[in-house]
Protein backbone atom coordinates (compact mmCIF):
# COMPACT_ATOMS: atom_id res chain seq x y z
CA UNK A 1 0.00 0.00 0.00
CA UNK A 2 2.78 2.40 0.96
CA UNK A 3 4.55 1.75 -2.32
CA UNK A 4 1.30 2.18 -4.19
CA UNK A 5 0.64 5.62 -2.67
CA UNK A 6 4.28 6.61 -3.00
CA UNK A 7 4.26 5.70 -6.70
CA UNK A 8 1.05 7.65 -7.18
CA UNK A 9 2.60 10.74 -5.56
CA UNK A 10 5.68 10.35 -7.74
CA UNK A 11 3.52 9.99 -10.81
CA UNK A 12 1.30 12.96 -10.16
CA UNK A 13 4.18 15.28 -9.25
CA UNK A 14 6.08 14.12 -12.33
CA UNK A 15 2.93 14.86 -14.33
CA UNK A 16 3.25 18.42 -13.04
CA UNK A 17 6.75 18.64 -14.45
CA UNK A 18 5.66 17.09 -17.76
CA UNK A 19 2.91 19.67 -17.98
CA UNK A 20 5.40 22.49 -17.52
CA UNK A 21 7.67 20.99 -20.19
CA UNK A 22 5.04 20.16 -22.79
CA UNK A 23 2.77 23.20 -22.45
CA UNK A 24 5.33 25.37 -24.26
CA UNK A 25 5.54 22.88 -27.11
CA UNK A 26 1.80 22.73 -27.56
CA UNK A 27 1.32 26.48 -27.17
CA UNK A 28 3.75 27.20 -30.00
CA UNK A 29 2.23 24.52 -32.18
CA UNK A 30 -1.31 25.59 -31.45
CA UNK A 31 -0.90 29.04 -32.89
CA UNK A 32 1.97 28.72 -35.30
CA UNK A 33 1.91 25.11 -36.52
CA UNK A 34 5.59 25.02 -35.63
CA UNK A 35 6.88 21.88 -33.99
CA UNK A 36 9.98 22.70 -32.01
CA UNK A 37 11.98 19.49 -31.84
CA UNK A 38 14.75 21.31 -30.01
CA UNK A 39 12.36 21.39 -27.07
CA UNK A 40 14.29 18.73 -25.14
CA UNK A 41 17.55 20.57 -25.78
CA UNK A 42 15.91 23.82 -24.57
CA UNK A 43 14.90 22.02 -21.36
CA UNK A 44 18.43 20.76 -20.79
CA UNK A 45 19.99 24.14 -21.58
CA UNK A 46 17.71 25.81 -19.03
CA UNK A 47 18.75 23.17 -16.50
CA UNK A 48 22.43 23.99 -17.00
CA UNK A 49 21.87 27.75 -16.91
CA UNK A 50 19.79 27.67 -13.72
CA UNK A 51 22.22 25.29 -12.08
CA UNK A 52 25.11 27.63 -12.88
CA UNK A 53 23.30 30.75 -11.65
CA UNK A 54 21.96 29.05 -8.53
CA UNK A 55 25.43 27.69 -7.80
CA UNK A 56 27.08 31.13 -8.18
CA UNK A 57 24.46 33.19 -6.35
CA UNK A 58 23.39 30.55 -3.84
CA UNK A 59 19.82 31.44 -4.68
CA UNK A 60 17.49 28.98 -6.37
CA UNK A 61 14.96 31.61 -7.45
CA UNK A 62 17.57 33.68 -9.32
CA UNK A 63 18.54 30.51 -11.12
CA UNK A 64 14.96 29.76 -12.12
CA UNK A 65 14.26 33.30 -13.30
CA UNK A 66 17.49 33.59 -15.29
CA UNK A 67 16.98 30.11 -16.76
CA UNK A 68 13.44 30.87 -17.88
CA UNK A 69 14.22 34.34 -19.26
CA UNK A 70 17.37 33.34 -21.12
CA UNK A 71 15.52 30.47 -22.79
CA UNK A 72 12.72 32.85 -23.73
CA UNK A 73 15.23 35.11 -25.45
CA UNK A 74 17.14 32.20 -26.98
CA UNK A 75 13.97 30.62 -28.36
CA UNK A 76 12.87 33.91 -29.85
CA UNK A 77 16.27 34.29 -31.54
CA UNK A 78 16.04 30.79 -33.00
CA UNK A 79 12.58 31.61 -34.31
CA UNK A 80 13.50 34.97 -35.82
CA UNK A 81 16.83 33.93 -37.31
CA UNK A 82 16.16 30.37 -38.47
CA UNK A 83 12.48 29.54 -38.60
CA UNK A 84 10.42 32.60 -39.46
CA UNK A 85 11.22 32.58 -43.15
CA UNK A 86 9.91 29.04 -43.62
CA UNK A 87 7.15 29.12 -41.04
CA UNK A 88 4.54 27.64 -43.31
CA UNK A 89 6.67 24.70 -44.37
CA UNK A 90 5.95 22.55 -41.33
CA UNK A 91 8.34 19.73 -42.02
CA UNK A 92 11.24 21.97 -43.01
CA UNK A 93 10.85 23.89 -39.76
CA UNK A 94 10.70 20.67 -37.74
CA UNK A 95 13.90 19.50 -39.44
CA UNK A 96 15.70 22.78 -38.76
CA UNK A 97 14.78 22.59 -35.07
CA UNK A 98 16.12 19.05 -35.01
CA UNK A 99 19.38 20.44 -36.41
CA UNK A 100 19.35 23.10 -33.69
CA UNK A 101 18.95 20.39 -31.06
CA UNK A 102 21.94 18.53 -32.50
CA UNK A 103 24.16 21.62 -32.37
CA UNK A 104 22.91 22.58 -28.91
CA UNK A 105 23.48 19.08 -27.53
CA UNK A 106 27.08 19.12 -28.72
CA UNK A 107 27.71 22.63 -27.45
CA UNK A 108 26.39 21.68 -24.01
CA UNK A 109 28.49 18.53 -24.01
CA UNK A 110 31.54 20.65 -24.82
CA UNK A 111 30.84 23.12 -22.03
CA UNK A 112 29.42 20.96 -19.25
CA UNK A 113 30.92 17.55 -20.02
CA UNK A 114 29.31 14.17 -19.54
CA UNK A 115 28.60 14.35 -15.79
CA UNK A 116 25.16 14.63 -14.30
CA UNK A 117 24.00 17.71 -12.43
CA UNK A 118 21.21 18.47 -10.00
CA UNK A 119 20.34 21.88 -8.60
CA UNK A 120 19.90 22.08 -4.83
CA UNK A 121 16.40 22.49 -3.51
CA UNK A 122 15.96 26.02 -2.05
CA UNK A 123 16.36 25.77 1.74
CA UNK A 124 12.94 27.21 2.69
CA UNK A 125 11.26 24.51 0.60
CA UNK A 126 13.59 21.69 1.52
CA UNK A 127 11.53 19.70 4.02
CA UNK A 128 9.32 16.65 3.97
CA UNK A 129 5.68 16.39 4.86
CA UNK A 130 4.09 13.27 6.27
CA UNK A 131 1.23 11.59 4.47
CA UNK A 132 -1.45 10.96 7.10
CA UNK A 133 -2.28 7.36 7.96
CA UNK A 134 0.57 5.78 6.02
CA UNK A 135 3.61 6.67 8.09
CA UNK A 136 5.15 8.06 4.93
CA UNK A 137 7.03 11.28 4.45
CA UNK A 138 7.28 12.96 1.09
CA UNK A 139 9.57 15.78 -0.10
CA UNK A 140 7.56 18.99 -0.16
CA UNK A 141 9.40 20.36 -3.18
CA UNK A 142 7.79 17.77 -5.44
CA UNK A 143 4.36 18.81 -4.23
CA UNK A 144 5.45 22.40 -4.84
CA UNK A 145 6.20 21.50 -8.49
CA UNK A 146 2.71 20.09 -8.85
CA UNK A 147 1.22 23.26 -7.35
CA UNK A 148 3.33 25.36 -9.73
CA UNK A 149 2.07 23.33 -12.68
CA UNK A 150 -1.52 23.79 -11.57
CA UNK A 151 -0.94 27.52 -11.18
CA UNK A 152 0.61 27.74 -14.65
CA UNK A 153 -2.24 25.69 -16.10
CA UNK A 154 -4.87 27.97 -14.60
CA UNK A 155 -3.05 31.14 -15.67
CA UNK A 156 -2.63 29.82 -19.20
CA UNK A 157 -6.30 28.90 -19.31
CA UNK A 158 -7.36 32.34 -18.10
CA UNK A 159 -4.89 34.01 -20.45
CA UNK A 160 -6.14 32.13 -23.47
CA UNK A 161 -9.86 32.07 -22.81
CA UNK A 162 -10.50 35.30 -20.90
CA UNK A 163 -8.10 37.99 -22.12
CA UNK A 164 -7.97 40.05 -25.28
CA UNK A 165 -4.54 38.60 -26.14
CA UNK A 166 -5.91 35.12 -25.70
CA UNK A 167 -8.72 35.98 -28.07
CA UNK A 168 -6.19 37.16 -30.65
CA UNK A 169 -4.26 33.92 -30.24
CA UNK A 170 -7.38 31.78 -30.62
CA UNK A 171 -8.44 33.76 -33.64
CA UNK A 172 -4.96 33.39 -35.08
CA UNK A 173 -5.17 29.61 -34.74
CA UNK A 174 -8.30 29.58 -36.87
CA UNK A 175 -7.46 32.20 -39.47
CA UNK A 176 -4.15 34.04 -39.49
CA UNK A 177 -4.93 36.06 -42.59
CA UNK A 178 -8.20 37.39 -41.25
CA UNK A 179 -6.61 38.38 -37.96
CA UNK A 180 -3.91 40.40 -39.70
CA UNK A 181 -6.56 41.97 -41.91
CA UNK A 182 -8.15 43.27 -38.71
CA UNK A 183 -5.03 45.32 -38.13
CA UNK A 184 -3.32 43.06 -35.63
CA UNK A 185 0.41 42.60 -36.09
CA UNK A 186 0.48 38.82 -36.33
CA UNK A 187 4.27 38.78 -36.68
CA UNK A 188 4.59 40.37 -33.24
CA UNK A 189 2.08 37.92 -31.80
CA UNK A 190 4.15 35.04 -33.20
CA UNK A 191 7.29 36.39 -31.57
CA UNK A 192 5.55 36.73 -28.22
CA UNK A 193 4.14 33.22 -28.44
CA UNK A 194 7.55 31.81 -29.20
CA UNK A 195 8.97 33.79 -26.31
CA UNK A 196 6.28 32.54 -23.94
CA UNK A 197 6.59 28.91 -25.07
CA UNK A 198 10.36 28.96 -24.67
CA UNK A 199 10.03 30.75 -21.33
CA UNK A 200 7.80 27.93 -20.11
CA UNK A 201 10.25 25.22 -21.12
CA UNK A 202 13.05 27.26 -19.58
CA UNK A 203 11.17 27.40 -16.31
CA UNK A 204 10.45 23.68 -16.59
CA UNK A 205 14.17 23.05 -17.03
CA UNK A 206 14.97 25.00 -13.87
CA UNK A 207 12.34 23.13 -11.85
CA UNK A 208 12.99 19.71 -13.38
CA UNK A 209 16.72 20.16 -12.91
CA UNK A 210 16.03 20.41 -9.19
CA UNK A 211 13.74 17.39 -8.80
CA UNK A 212 15.68 15.18 -11.21
CA UNK A 213 19.29 14.97 -12.26
CA UNK A 214 20.16 15.99 -15.79
CA UNK A 215 23.03 15.65 -18.23
CA UNK A 216 23.96 14.25 -21.60
CA UNK A 217 20.91 12.46 -23.07
CA UNK A 218 18.36 14.26 -20.91
CA UNK A 219 17.36 16.29 -23.99
CA UNK A 220 16.26 13.14 -25.83
CA UNK A 221 14.38 11.82 -22.80
CA UNK A 222 12.39 14.98 -22.30
CA UNK A 223 11.74 15.38 -26.01
CA UNK A 224 10.24 11.89 -25.87
CA UNK A 225 8.12 12.71 -22.80
CA UNK A 226 6.82 15.92 -24.36
CA UNK A 227 6.03 14.20 -27.64
CA UNK A 228 4.18 11.42 -25.83
CA UNK A 229 2.26 13.93 -23.76
CA UNK A 230 1.17 16.08 -26.69
CA UNK A 231 0.48 13.13 -29.01
CA UNK A 232 -1.73 11.47 -26.39
CA UNK A 233 -3.40 14.69 -25.26
CA UNK A 234 -3.81 16.21 -28.68
CA UNK A 235 -1.39 18.67 -30.22
CA UNK A 236 -2.22 22.33 -29.68
CA UNK A 237 -4.55 21.90 -26.71
CA UNK A 238 -3.59 22.98 -23.18
CA UNK A 239 -6.22 20.71 -21.63
CA UNK A 240 -4.83 17.87 -23.72
CA UNK A 241 -1.39 18.49 -22.25
CA UNK A 242 -2.85 18.24 -18.75
CA UNK A 243 -4.52 14.90 -19.51
CA UNK A 244 -1.49 13.62 -21.41
CA UNK A 245 0.88 14.59 -18.56
CA UNK A 246 -1.28 12.81 -16.00
CA UNK A 247 -1.48 9.64 -18.08
CA UNK A 248 2.21 9.56 -19.01
CA UNK A 249 3.32 10.59 -15.52
CA UNK A 250 1.17 8.32 -13.38
CA UNK A 251 1.05 5.25 -15.62
CA UNK A 252 4.74 5.70 -16.43
CA UNK A 253 5.65 5.72 -12.73
CA UNK A 254 3.56 2.61 -11.97
CA UNK A 255 5.22 0.90 -14.92
CA UNK A 256 8.69 1.85 -13.68
CA UNK A 257 7.82 0.83 -10.12
CA UNK A 258 6.19 -2.50 -10.81
CA UNK A 259 7.48 -3.66 -14.23
CA UNK A 260 10.82 -1.87 -14.69
CA UNK A 261 11.85 -3.97 -17.70
CA UNK A 262 8.78 -3.14 -19.70
CA UNK A 263 8.17 0.42 -18.50
CA UNK A 264 8.98 1.92 -21.91
CA UNK A 265 6.78 -0.61 -23.68
CA UNK A 266 3.82 0.07 -21.37
CA UNK A 267 3.83 3.84 -21.91
CA UNK A 268 4.30 3.16 -25.56
CA UNK A 269 1.37 0.74 -25.74
CA UNK A 270 -0.78 3.40 -24.12
CA UNK A 271 0.25 5.83 -26.83
CA UNK A 272 -0.58 3.31 -29.55
CA UNK A 273 -3.97 2.51 -28.00
CA UNK A 274 -4.94 6.18 -27.80
CA UNK A 275 -3.90 6.78 -31.39
CA UNK A 276 -5.66 3.68 -32.64
CA UNK A 277 -8.98 5.17 -31.54
CA UNK A 278 -8.20 8.86 -31.74
CA UNK A 279 -5.41 9.63 -34.22
CA UNK A 280 -5.62 13.32 -33.33
CA UNK A 281 -5.14 12.68 -29.59
CA UNK A 282 -7.68 12.81 -26.78
CA UNK A 283 -8.52 16.52 -27.04
CA UNK A 284 -6.99 17.24 -30.43
CA UNK A 285 -8.98 18.80 -33.24
CA UNK A 286 -9.35 16.83 -36.44
CA UNK A 287 -7.26 18.51 -39.09
Amino acid sequence: MTQFVFTFLNGITLAGLYFLVASGLTLIFGLMRVINLAHGAFYLLAGYISWTVADKTNNWFYGAVVGALSLGVFGTLVYVLLLRKFQYEELRVALITLGVSLVLAQAMLAIFGGEYYQTNIPTPLSFTISVPGLGLSYPFFRIFVLLLAIAVAISLWIFITKTRYGAIIRAGVDDTTMVSALGINVQAVFIWIFFLGSLLVGFAGAVGGTTNSFGMGTDGDYLLFSLQVVIIGGLGSIGGVAIGSLLVGVIGQYAVGYFPTFAGIITFTMLILVLAFRPQGILGKKS
Binding site: R33, I35, L37, G40, L82, K85, F86, E90, L91, R92, A94, L95, I96, L98, G99, V100, S101, L102, V103, A105, Q106, A107, L109, A110, G217, D219, G220, D221, L223, L224, L227, Q228, I231, L235, P260, T261, F262, A263, G264, I265, T267, F268, L271, I272, L275, A276, P279, S287
Partner: protein, 318 residues
Protein backbone atom coordinates in the same frame (compact mmCIF):
# COMPACT_ATOMS: atom_id res chain seq x y z
CA UNK B 1 20.19 5.11 -71.79
CA UNK B 2 22.09 8.03 -70.30
CA UNK B 3 21.01 7.17 -66.79
CA UNK B 4 22.04 3.54 -67.29
CA UNK B 5 25.49 4.74 -68.29
CA UNK B 6 25.59 6.90 -65.19
CA UNK B 7 24.72 3.96 -62.95
CA UNK B 8 27.35 1.79 -64.69
CA UNK B 9 30.03 4.41 -64.04
CA UNK B 10 29.05 4.80 -60.38
CA UNK B 11 29.07 1.01 -59.81
CA UNK B 12 32.41 0.63 -61.63
CA UNK B 13 33.89 3.37 -59.46
CA UNK B 14 32.49 1.73 -56.34
CA UNK B 15 34.04 -1.63 -57.34
CA UNK B 16 37.40 -0.02 -58.06
CA UNK B 17 37.29 2.17 -54.93
CA UNK B 18 39.29 -0.10 -52.55
CA UNK B 19 42.12 -0.25 -55.11
CA UNK B 20 42.34 3.43 -55.97
CA UNK B 21 41.81 5.11 -52.61
CA UNK B 22 44.78 6.35 -50.59
CA UNK B 23 45.09 4.71 -47.17
CA UNK B 24 42.66 1.87 -48.06
CA UNK B 25 42.62 0.36 -44.55
CA UNK B 26 40.96 3.49 -43.22
CA UNK B 27 38.92 4.76 -46.14
CA UNK B 28 37.38 1.48 -47.30
CA UNK B 29 35.92 0.85 -43.87
CA UNK B 30 35.25 4.35 -42.48
CA UNK B 31 34.32 5.82 -45.84
CA UNK B 32 33.01 3.10 -48.11
CA UNK B 33 31.48 0.39 -45.92
CA UNK B 34 30.04 2.89 -43.48
CA UNK B 35 28.51 4.96 -46.28
CA UNK B 36 26.91 1.86 -47.83
CA UNK B 37 25.38 0.80 -44.52
CA UNK B 38 24.02 4.28 -43.75
CA UNK B 39 23.01 4.63 -47.39
CA UNK B 40 20.76 1.57 -47.21
CA UNK B 41 19.20 2.85 -43.98
CA UNK B 42 18.66 6.24 -45.62
CA UNK B 43 17.30 4.56 -48.77
CA UNK B 44 14.38 3.20 -46.77
CA UNK B 45 13.57 6.76 -45.71
CA UNK B 46 14.03 8.24 -49.17
CA UNK B 47 11.78 5.59 -50.69
CA UNK B 48 8.91 6.57 -48.40
CA UNK B 49 9.47 10.27 -48.79
CA UNK B 50 9.78 10.11 -52.54
CA UNK B 51 6.79 7.86 -53.17
CA UNK B 52 4.40 8.72 -50.37
CA UNK B 53 5.63 12.14 -49.27
CA UNK B 54 6.10 10.86 -45.73
CA UNK B 55 9.29 11.59 -43.79
CA UNK B 56 9.72 8.75 -41.30
CA UNK B 57 12.10 8.56 -38.39
CA UNK B 58 10.69 5.12 -37.54
CA UNK B 59 13.17 3.44 -39.89
CA UNK B 60 15.66 3.23 -37.06
CA UNK B 61 13.05 1.36 -35.04
CA UNK B 62 12.99 -1.41 -37.65
CA UNK B 63 16.78 -1.40 -37.92
CA UNK B 64 16.93 -1.60 -34.14
CA UNK B 65 14.50 -4.51 -33.93
CA UNK B 66 16.37 -6.58 -36.51
CA UNK B 67 19.80 -5.55 -35.21
CA UNK B 68 18.97 -6.43 -31.61
CA UNK B 69 17.46 -9.78 -32.63
CA UNK B 70 20.62 -10.77 -34.51
CA UNK B 71 22.86 -9.56 -31.69
CA UNK B 72 20.88 -11.18 -28.87
CA UNK B 73 20.31 -14.50 -30.57
CA UNK B 74 23.86 -14.95 -31.81
CA UNK B 75 25.81 -13.64 -28.80
CA UNK B 76 23.58 -14.72 -25.93
CA UNK B 77 21.94 -17.85 -27.34
CA UNK B 78 24.42 -19.07 -29.93
CA UNK B 79 21.96 -19.09 -32.80
CA UNK B 80 23.60 -19.37 -36.23
CA UNK B 81 23.37 -16.37 -38.57
CA UNK B 82 21.71 -18.57 -41.18
CA UNK B 83 18.69 -18.71 -38.88
CA UNK B 84 18.91 -15.44 -36.98
CA UNK B 85 19.42 -13.06 -39.89
CA UNK B 86 16.32 -14.07 -41.91
CA UNK B 87 14.27 -14.18 -38.72
CA UNK B 88 15.48 -10.74 -37.68
CA UNK B 89 14.68 -9.23 -41.06
CA UNK B 90 11.26 -10.86 -40.96
CA UNK B 91 10.56 -9.54 -37.46
CA UNK B 92 11.74 -6.03 -38.37
CA UNK B 93 9.58 -6.06 -41.48
CA UNK B 94 6.51 -7.30 -39.61
CA UNK B 95 6.96 -4.67 -36.90
CA UNK B 96 6.35 -2.30 -39.80
CA UNK B 97 2.75 -3.55 -39.93
CA UNK B 98 2.12 -2.56 -36.31
CA UNK B 99 3.78 0.84 -36.56
CA UNK B 100 2.26 1.48 -39.97
CA UNK B 101 -1.23 0.69 -38.71
CA UNK B 102 -0.91 3.60 -36.27
CA UNK B 103 1.40 6.00 -38.05
CA UNK B 104 -0.25 5.90 -41.48
CA UNK B 105 -3.39 7.44 -40.06
CA UNK B 106 -1.38 10.64 -39.73
CA UNK B 107 0.39 12.84 -42.24
CA UNK B 108 3.07 15.45 -42.56
CA UNK B 109 4.61 16.73 -39.38
CA UNK B 110 2.38 14.50 -37.21
CA UNK B 111 3.68 11.43 -38.98
CA UNK B 112 7.22 12.68 -38.52
CA UNK B 113 6.68 13.29 -34.81
CA UNK B 114 4.94 9.99 -34.23
CA UNK B 115 7.68 7.98 -35.91
CA UNK B 116 10.27 9.91 -33.91
CA UNK B 117 8.42 8.96 -30.73
CA UNK B 118 8.39 5.32 -31.86
CA UNK B 119 12.15 5.27 -32.28
CA UNK B 120 12.76 7.10 -29.01
CA UNK B 121 10.46 4.53 -27.37
CA UNK B 122 12.69 1.69 -28.55
CA UNK B 123 15.68 3.63 -27.24
CA UNK B 124 14.22 3.85 -23.74
CA UNK B 125 13.16 0.18 -23.86
CA UNK B 126 16.68 -0.86 -24.85
CA UNK B 127 18.01 1.17 -21.94
CA UNK B 128 15.57 -0.20 -19.37
CA UNK B 129 15.21 -3.86 -20.33
CA UNK B 130 18.62 -4.84 -19.00
CA UNK B 131 17.94 -8.60 -18.87
CA UNK B 132 17.12 -8.59 -22.56
CA UNK B 133 19.36 -5.94 -24.07
CA UNK B 134 22.09 -5.55 -21.43
CA UNK B 135 20.95 -1.96 -21.02
CA UNK B 136 23.27 0.93 -21.68
CA UNK B 137 26.40 -1.19 -22.27
CA UNK B 138 24.72 -2.97 -25.15
CA UNK B 139 25.83 -6.20 -26.74
CA UNK B 140 29.45 -6.21 -27.75
CA UNK B 141 31.86 -8.31 -29.82
CA UNK B 142 29.27 -9.71 -32.17
CA UNK B 143 31.07 -12.21 -34.43
CA UNK B 144 31.33 -11.61 -38.16
CA UNK B 145 29.52 -13.86 -40.61
CA UNK B 146 31.47 -16.46 -42.57
CA UNK B 147 29.75 -17.29 -45.85
CA UNK B 148 31.14 -20.06 -48.09
CA UNK B 149 34.44 -19.90 -46.26
CA UNK B 150 34.77 -16.17 -46.75
CA UNK B 151 35.34 -14.30 -43.48
CA UNK B 152 33.56 -10.95 -43.48
CA UNK B 153 35.60 -9.73 -40.54
CA UNK B 154 38.01 -8.46 -43.20
CA UNK B 155 37.47 -5.01 -44.61
CA UNK B 156 37.26 -5.71 -48.33
CA UNK B 157 34.88 -8.71 -48.28
CA UNK B 158 32.48 -6.78 -46.04
CA UNK B 159 32.70 -3.77 -48.38
CA UNK B 160 31.83 -5.85 -51.43
CA UNK B 161 29.04 -7.66 -49.57
CA UNK B 162 27.52 -4.29 -48.62
CA UNK B 163 28.02 -2.96 -52.15
CA UNK B 164 26.14 -5.96 -53.53
CA UNK B 165 23.27 -5.48 -51.08
CA UNK B 166 23.10 -1.76 -51.83
CA UNK B 167 22.99 -2.23 -55.60
CA UNK B 168 20.32 -4.94 -55.29
CA UNK B 169 18.11 -2.89 -52.98
CA UNK B 170 18.49 0.25 -55.07
CA UNK B 171 17.52 -1.68 -58.20
CA UNK B 172 14.59 -3.22 -56.32
CA UNK B 173 13.34 0.25 -55.31
CA UNK B 174 13.68 1.47 -58.90
CA UNK B 175 11.79 -1.60 -60.10
CA UNK B 176 8.98 -1.15 -57.56
CA UNK B 177 8.58 2.47 -58.64
CA UNK B 178 7.99 1.36 -62.24
CA UNK B 179 5.29 -1.18 -61.42
CA UNK B 180 1.65 -0.15 -61.48
CA UNK B 181 1.82 -0.29 -57.67
CA UNK B 182 4.61 2.27 -57.64
CA UNK B 183 2.68 4.57 -59.97
CA UNK B 184 -0.42 4.27 -57.79
CA UNK B 185 1.72 5.27 -54.81
CA UNK B 186 2.76 8.48 -56.52
CA UNK B 187 -0.92 9.12 -57.14
CA UNK B 188 -1.62 8.77 -53.43
CA UNK B 189 1.25 11.12 -52.68
CA UNK B 190 -0.01 13.80 -55.05
CA UNK B 191 -3.73 13.62 -54.44
CA UNK B 192 -5.30 11.13 -52.07
CA UNK B 193 -8.87 12.23 -52.65
CA UNK B 194 -8.62 11.81 -56.38
CA UNK B 195 -7.18 8.31 -55.96
CA UNK B 196 -10.03 7.40 -53.61
CA UNK B 197 -12.62 8.64 -56.07
CA UNK B 198 -10.91 6.62 -58.79
CA UNK B 199 -11.65 3.54 -56.72
CA UNK B 200 -8.26 2.87 -55.16
CA UNK B 201 -8.04 1.68 -51.59
CA UNK B 202 -5.44 3.99 -50.10
CA UNK B 203 -4.56 2.27 -46.84
CA UNK B 204 -3.31 -1.05 -48.30
CA UNK B 205 -1.18 0.84 -50.81
CA UNK B 206 0.40 2.95 -48.09
CA UNK B 207 0.82 -0.06 -45.84
CA UNK B 208 2.65 -2.13 -48.47
CA UNK B 209 4.99 0.78 -49.18
CA UNK B 210 5.61 1.32 -45.48
CA UNK B 211 6.30 -2.36 -44.81
CA UNK B 212 8.58 -2.48 -47.83
CA UNK B 213 10.58 0.40 -46.40
CA UNK B 214 10.64 -1.42 -43.04
CA UNK B 215 12.12 -4.40 -44.90
CA UNK B 216 14.97 -2.27 -46.26
CA UNK B 217 15.51 -0.70 -42.84
CA UNK B 218 15.68 -4.16 -41.24
CA UNK B 219 18.39 -5.18 -43.68
CA UNK B 220 20.25 -1.99 -42.78
CA UNK B 221 19.92 -2.98 -39.13
CA UNK B 222 21.69 -6.30 -39.75
CA UNK B 223 24.34 -4.52 -41.82
CA UNK B 224 24.92 -2.15 -38.91
CA UNK B 225 25.45 -5.04 -36.49
CA UNK B 226 28.03 -6.61 -38.78
CA UNK B 227 29.79 -3.33 -39.49
CA UNK B 228 29.94 -1.92 -35.96
CA UNK B 229 30.09 -5.38 -34.25
CA UNK B 230 28.06 -4.07 -31.33
CA UNK B 231 24.61 -2.68 -30.67
CA UNK B 232 23.52 -0.43 -27.83
CA UNK B 233 20.62 1.95 -27.13
CA UNK B 234 22.64 4.66 -28.84
CA UNK B 235 22.32 2.70 -32.09
CA UNK B 236 18.65 3.68 -32.05
CA UNK B 237 19.04 6.97 -30.18
CA UNK B 238 18.11 10.51 -31.10
CA UNK B 239 21.55 11.30 -32.48
CA UNK B 240 21.54 8.35 -34.86
CA UNK B 241 18.02 9.24 -36.03
CA UNK B 242 19.16 12.73 -36.83
CA UNK B 243 22.24 11.30 -38.55
CA UNK B 244 20.02 9.43 -41.00
CA UNK B 245 17.85 12.44 -41.52
CA UNK B 246 20.89 14.58 -42.26
CA UNK B 247 22.00 12.06 -44.86
CA UNK B 248 18.61 11.98 -46.54
CA UNK B 249 18.18 15.76 -46.56
CA UNK B 250 21.74 16.63 -47.56
CA UNK B 251 21.69 14.07 -50.37
CA UNK B 252 18.25 15.10 -51.57
CA UNK B 253 15.15 13.68 -49.98
CA UNK B 254 13.16 13.31 -53.19
CA UNK B 255 15.82 11.29 -55.01
CA UNK B 256 16.60 7.62 -54.35
CA UNK B 257 20.26 8.18 -55.17
CA UNK B 258 20.28 11.02 -52.66
CA UNK B 259 20.48 8.47 -49.86
CA UNK B 260 23.84 7.21 -51.08
CA UNK B 261 25.14 10.62 -52.15
CA UNK B 262 24.31 11.94 -48.69
CA UNK B 263 25.76 8.89 -46.95
CA UNK B 264 29.07 9.16 -48.82
CA UNK B 265 29.26 12.88 -48.15
CA UNK B 266 28.49 12.56 -44.44
CA UNK B 267 30.80 9.56 -43.96
CA UNK B 268 33.67 11.44 -45.62
CA UNK B 269 32.82 14.73 -43.87
CA UNK B 270 32.75 13.08 -40.44
CA UNK B 271 35.86 10.99 -41.09
CA UNK B 272 37.82 14.12 -41.99
CA UNK B 273 36.43 16.49 -39.37
CA UNK B 274 37.00 13.92 -36.60
CA UNK B 275 40.67 14.83 -36.80
CA UNK B 276 39.92 18.44 -35.96
CA UNK B 277 37.25 18.28 -33.29
CA UNK B 278 35.63 15.68 -31.04
CA UNK B 279 32.36 17.54 -31.40
CA UNK B 280 32.00 16.65 -35.06
CA UNK B 281 28.30 15.85 -34.66
CA UNK B 282 27.73 19.53 -33.95
CA UNK B 283 29.51 20.39 -37.19
CA UNK B 284 27.20 17.95 -39.00
CA UNK B 285 24.26 19.72 -37.37
CA UNK B 286 25.42 23.10 -38.68
CA UNK B 287 25.86 21.62 -42.16
CA UNK B 288 22.31 20.23 -41.87
CA UNK B 289 20.79 23.59 -40.93
CA UNK B 290 22.67 25.38 -43.71
CA UNK B 291 21.51 22.85 -46.32
CA UNK B 292 17.92 23.09 -45.08
CA UNK B 293 17.95 26.86 -45.27
CA UNK B 294 19.71 27.25 -48.60
CA UNK B 295 19.12 24.06 -50.60
CA UNK B 296 16.14 22.13 -49.22
CA UNK B 297 16.24 19.79 -52.24
CA UNK B 298 19.70 18.61 -51.21
CA UNK B 299 22.74 18.02 -53.39
CA UNK B 300 20.86 15.98 -55.99
CA UNK B 301 18.35 18.79 -56.31
CA UNK B 302 20.75 21.72 -56.62
CA UNK B 303 20.66 21.71 -60.43
CA UNK B 304 16.88 21.74 -60.49
CA UNK B 305 16.83 24.48 -57.87
CA UNK B 306 19.21 26.70 -59.83
CA UNK B 307 17.26 26.07 -63.04
CA UNK B 308 13.99 26.98 -61.34
CA UNK B 309 15.51 30.14 -59.90
CA UNK B 310 16.92 31.20 -63.26
CA UNK B 311 13.60 30.53 -64.98
CA UNK B 312 11.87 32.62 -62.33
CA UNK B 313 14.25 35.59 -62.59
CA UNK B 314 14.04 35.50 -66.41
CA UNK B 315 10.29 35.47 -66.12
CA UNK B 316 10.46 38.57 -63.97
CA UNK B 317 12.85 40.47 -66.24
CA UNK B 318 10.68 39.78 -69.24
Amino acid sequence: MRSQLKYAIVIALAIAFPFITPDPDFWVSSGGTRALWLGVAALSMSFLNRNLGLMSLGQLFFSGVSGYIVAISSVMHGVKFGTSVPLAILAGTLSGVVIGWIALKTKGVYFFMLTLAVTLGLYSFANQAQEITRGHTGINSIPSPIILGMDFAYVKPLYYLFLGISVLLFALCKFVERTSFGIALKGVRDNEDRMISMGYRIMPLKMIAFVFSAFIASIAGVMGVFYVTNISPDSVGLLRSIDLLVIVVVGGATYLGGAFVGAVLIAVFEAIIQDFTVYYVGATGILFIVVLMLAPQGLMGINAQIRAKRAKSEGVSR
